[in-house]
C-alpha cells in the first residue's frame, strides 16, 4: 500500500482530534497500520490544534514542510497557515467559515482574504475542495459535526484507502449513542459534497 500523510488542522474545540481518531480507527479496523498524533494541553485553550493520520506503515507522528499528501482544515486561516506543509501534488479539503482570532479582534493583525487564497489554492494544488462545513453540520442537526462533515468530504474524494462503510461503522462504535444519527447524517452530507 502507498503511504499517505494526512494533516488535520483547526482551532481548539472544533473536534479535529475526533476526526483524526475516527479515520485512524476506521483504518485500523480495516487492518491497516496507522499512526495518529494529537496535540493536548495548552494549545487546546483556543489555540491551533493539529493532528495527523499516517497510513501505509509510516512511523513518524508529524508532517514536515511540503510533505502532507492531504490537508483537512477546519478553518480557512488555519488552511492558509498550513499551506507550507503542502506540495503541488497535495489535496486540500477546507472549511470556508472563519473563526476570528483574538489578535484580529484586538486590531493587532489582519485576517487574510479567504476568497483570494482559496482561488490561489485552486490554481496551485492538485485538488482543492472548499465548502461551508458549518452550514452542512447544522443541516445534519448539530453544529458540532463540522469535523465529521469534513471527514465525509475526505472519504468521498477517494484519496485514502478507507471506505465509507468503514467510517460509518467506526462512527457507530466511537461516537456517543445520542450523537450517532446526526454524525452519520453529517458524514453523508460531506460525502455528497466531495466534488472538485
Amino acid at each position: 500500500m502507498d503511504t499517505k500523510k494526512i494533516l488535520f488542522t483547526g482551532v481548539g474545540g472544533q473536534g479535529t482530534l475526533l476526526a483524526s481518531r475516527l479515520l485512524g480507527e476506521a483504518a485500523m479496523a480495516a487492518g491497516m497500520d496507522v499512526r495518529v498524533s494529537e496535540v493536548h494541553g495548552m494549545a487546546q485553550r483556543g489555540g491551533v490544534v493539529e493532528s495527523t493520520v499516517m497510513l501505509g506503515g509510516l512511523k513518524s507522528p508529524i508532517i514536515s514542510k511540503g510533505e502532507a499528501d492531504i490537508l483537512v482544515s477546519f478553518e480557512p486561516l488555519e488552511t492558509i497557515r498550513a499551506l507550507d506543509r503542502c506540495s503541488r501534488g497535495s489535496v486540500i479539503v477546507t472549511n470556508t467559515v472563519p473563526i476570528i482570532p483574538i489578535t484580529v479582534k484586538l486590531g493587532q493583525a489582519e485576517y487574510p482574504d479567504v476568497d483570494y487564497w482559496i482561488d490561489f489554492m485552486k490554481k496551485s494544488y492538485r485538488r482543492v475542495c472548499a465548502l461551508d462545513a458549518d452550514e452542512l453540520a447544522k443541516t445534519a442537526g448539530t453544529s458540532k459535526a463540522v469535523n465529521v462533515v469534513l471527514l465525509g468530504v475526505l472519504i468521498g474524494l477517494n484519496e485514502v484507502p478507507v471506505t465509507r462503510e468503514m467510517v460509518e461503522e467506526t462512527i457507530k462504535k466511537q461516537v456517543k449513542p445520542r450523537f450517532v444519527e446526526a454524525n452519520l447524517k453529517a458524514f453523508e452530507l460531506g460525502l455528497e459534497k466531495a466534488e472538485c
Binding site: M28, V36, M42, R45, K59, I62, I63, R88, L106, E110
Partner: protein, 563 residues
Amino acid sequence: MHPLLSKDTGQKRLLLGNEAIVRGAIEAGAAVAAAYPGTPSSEIANNLFFISLQGDWPLYFEFSTNEKVAMEVAASAAAAGVRSLTCMKHVGMNVASDVLMTLAYVGVKAGMVIVTADDPSMHSSQNEQDNRIYARFANLPMLEPTSPQEAKDMTIQAFDLSESLELPVIVRTTTRTSHVRGPVELGPLPEEVRQKGIFQKDPRRWVPVPAVARMRHRVLLEQMEKARGLAEGSRFNSMSGKGKTGIVASGVSVCYVEDAIRELGVEDRVTFLKLGFTYPFPVSILKDFIQKVDEILVVEELEPFQEDEIKIICKDMGQDRPVFGKATGHFSRMYEFDPLMVKKAIAQVTGCDLNLPQMPDLSSLPPLPMRPPSLCQGCPHRETYNAVKEALKELGLEENAIYPTDIGCYTLGLLPPIQMADYLLCMGSSVGSSAGFSVATDHKIVSFIGDSTFFHSGLSSLASAYHNEHRFCLVILDNSTTAMTGHQPNPGIEIRPPGYDRPRIPIEDAVRGLGIKNVHKINPYRKKEAVALFKEVLAKDELSVVIAEAPCILYYRKFGGKK
C-alpha cells in the same frame, strides 16, 4: 468497565502512548499508583484515576499533592512488595528528584516504574530539559518506547526488570510518543494482583544513614552492571542493515530514521542501531556497531546523550570514526525533530539525493494572525485579574505593581489584554519569588497561584513568607480543580467527580492554620465587592491572602451539581 480493562486478549486497540502505558501497568499487575498531573503525562494518571474510581479492578490510585509525594507513595508500596507506578512530566521529576536520588540507593522489592514524559519544543512547558540525564544522574535503568505497542511492552518489561534488579526503572517518553495513537495488541490481564505486601524491616537497607548509604551506593553500582548485561541482551536493542554508514536513534527519532531510510531508499547503505533499553549504555552492542561502520550519525532530540557516550567508546576502542550529530551541527540541541530534518541529515551523510517536494511559491503570503491560547470566555480568572487591575488603578498603584505568577491556565494572564504575569519559574514560584521581590524592591507585589499549585508547592513557601514577614498580596485562584491538565482533583476541591469522596481541605483553613490572619475570600463575579476588597487589602503594605473562589466553567459543566 473502563476500556483499558478489556479482556479481549489478542485484539488490537488504537491507543495513545500514554494509554498503552496504563494497559501495560494493568497487565503487569501494578496495584498502587500515584501522580501529579502534567502535560504530556496527564492521560496516564487520568486513566489510572478513573480505573480506580470505578472500583472494579484492584488498583489504588491517588493524585498526590506533588510529584515528590507521589514518588514516595509508589516507592514505599514497592518496598513492601506491591508493584507500583508513578508518572510525571519532565519538570515534575525535578520536584521528585530528592526522592529519586536516594531511592536508587535503597531500591525496591516489587517492581516500580517511574514514567517521565519530556516535552521537546515546549508545547506545554517552561523548559525542555532532557530527563535521560536523570537516568545517568540517579544511576537507574531506562527504557524509551518508539510506539504505543512498545510503550505497553516496555512498561511490562520495566516491572520485571525492576523486580529482578530491585531498582526502580525509568520509562521515558516525549510528547510525540505519549500523544501518538497506534494499534496495540491487548495481552492477558493478570489472574491475581498483589494488593497488600509486608514491609520487611531492615534498617541497614531502608534507612540510609551514612554508614548504610555507603554500602548501598556500592550495591547500586553492582546492580547497574547487571542491568548493563540485561540491556545488552534486550530485545528492545536491535541492529539492522549492513551498510557502512551507522545510524543510532531511540524514542521518536527511531520513527523519523525508519521513514527516512525507506523514503530515501538507502537500506543497503546504512546500519541502523535502534536503542530501546537506553541506560545503562549497552557498551558491547555499541562496540560491535562501531566496528561495523565507517561513520556514525546519532539522531537524538535535545542533549548529546548517546553522541558523547559513543565518542567515549570510540576513544576507548582506539577507533577513530567520524561521529555526526550535535557537535557537527547536523542537529540542534534545541526543540523536537521532524521527519524532513532527519531525512536531510541522512541524505547528507550517505551522499544520496534528497528529492524535495515541489511547493507553490508562498512568498506573497501576508503575515498571518497568531492564535495564542487564551482564557475561556467566562473564565473566573479573567474577572479576578480585572478586579485587581481596577483596584490598583483606583489606588494609583498600577504603574508600580508587579505580578509574580504561577503554573496553570491563569499563566495565560500573560497575554493582552490582561498582561498581569511578570515572573515565573516553576510550580509554586509565585510565593517564593514574591518574598524576594518584597525585600529587594519597593514594588507593589500581587502574585497569583491556582488551588492545585498552592497544594503542590505553595503551602510551605507561604509559611516561609509569613514567618519572614514578607509583604505582598497572594491571590489564590481557587477554581476547584486542576484545570489546565484536564480537571484532576486536589485536596481543596468542592465540586467532585461522582464517587470521589476523599476529605476536603478548604484553602482558607489551610492558610489560617499557618497563622496568617489577613485572609479574605471573594467571588470574582461580584465585581464591585471584589474591587472594594482588593482596594482595602492593597492599600496596606503587609502580607495578605485573597482566595478568589469560583469553579472552572468547563469543570462545572462536567461535574457541577453532582457534589
